[in-house]
Amino acid sequence: MTVTFNEADLVAVSVGGVIAHPGFPGLPAEPYRLAADGTPFLLPAWGGIVYNVSIGDKAFGWAADCIHPGVSIRGTDDGRNRGLNVFSCLGNTATVMTGQAQGAKGVVTGKSGRFSEQVIIHFPKEIRKKMAVGDQIIVKSYGTGIVIDGHENIACKGLSPDLLKVLPNKTEDGILKFGTVATVPAFLVGAGAGLTSEGGSLHMQSTDRAALAEAGLDQLKLGDVVAIENTDSRYNHGYLRGAMSIGVVGQTDGPRSGYGPGMTVIMTAPKGELGTYRDAAANIASLLKLEA
């Protein structure tokens, strides 16, 4: 069914950044990070232009640590980066302003949080080949302030009108429910708990693979819409029985403790005002008809 909301009142504003470069600490630091079992590893991680991982691909199984699919951008200083991270909404259009891909269009698919703080943008693979680190990208940010008619207790964050309009949903007993691929149990909430919910991401725990499989999370794909049980994300992410958050898987799994796939939370309500139902096809790559 169609969800109606205050679209006519929303303000569209430019936010921008440049394509980020992957980073490692300088010498004499070791290049290794530690896996949850203490094993040192050296693998590709977040940032940059990723040529062969896209939204819609598997979230697990890459030889990598929390990879951002597609292209990652950052603001040129912390204040601007915060504006970029908070106001960018999943589903917003991004435009390449400089370089050989100038004029190409992309779509915001995720945001990453503390220690990374980048906005993740999908561009078709052919476009990525023309892009350079440092290229400027503008996001037409549009969606902050969304209020769904008749469901004012659902707080929306980083959610564009374009995405809200295509999210599978139904209303039962007055509760607005959205289709989700799986539900993350509260005990598998990891990094991001207690941190801001206005931007950034909330990671699931993936060290205990059996627990992950039992919860039906081990086959998730990038872009899958997922529910997070007993989690209140109105002002930071935190535990609250009866609360529910809905997020989109934005970055891949990694070997570190607390850093399974990251989810960009787009909706939350504290007391059962937000519902979910299972829809195995709820993935933003298909919902937004993203071009491979």
Binding site: G38, F187, G190, A193, Y235, Y239, G258
Partner: protein, 293 residues
Amino acid sequence: MSAELGGLTSNAESLVAMAVCGYVSSPSLRPGHYTHHPDGKGVILPGMFGVTYNASVGDRAFGWAGDHVEPGVSIAHPDEKSDMALHYLSCLGNEATVMSGLAKGAKGTVTGEHARLLVAFPDEVNELLNIGDQIQIEAVGRGIALNEFPRIEFKKTSPKLLASLGLTRAGNGALKLPVAIELPIEIMGSGAELNSEYVDQDLMSGDRALMADLGIDQMRLGDIIAIRHADHHFGRSYREGAVSIAICIHGDSIMTGHGPGIMTLMTCHEGGIEFEVDPSANIANYFRIGAGK
């Protein structure tokens, strides 16, 4: 070693003691920086930094008109690398000495590690401390281990604390100790993004009814805490069967995803640690400091 270790032996004689230092901190705020309740209501509350005159280890962790209340004296080093050494080398129970100012020579005890290191001094010493006074710590405890339990990893545990925890060998061969409160894994929150050698992880106290139901709202600063299915070896993972032992180092918070701070002391995979609940399991009692004097 001694009977204090319940017949167990440690490598305490192999540990190296070295000096690290910090300076009494001063509260700092950003303009317009409200802290928000879960419903969004913004407030400004004291609790972090400085000398906290009226909250000590052994006092309640909940119910203060404060946020993240750091008991006693909060110290830091202005140079980042030196500050990290203060963080990574200091252990709970280490002796601290005031090196400058009116309280020069006074002795205290390290009681935890938040964004600043936390030290307990007697009240009369707190009255004499100035912002910037140098506090030196005889840091010893990194690398500590029990010879009989090589698979149990200790963090920030001084020989003094190790001898105070009431460690015994359980009938099934596991290491056993008293803890004041057991926490369910699903309420472990802010700090999940950090490595587990640095500071603490807050329990998430936002579900107030749950705090009361489980008696968590009776927690005291300095309480020894147990968490099942928490693997704190290298970060903080959910791992079925693991047990971590920790200590409450700071007070409750109104912020979503925050609450009293829980600093890791011991962690083990399946079957290595057992515990029994004893409300007196608190370092104020063990060290006869703060409210336990």
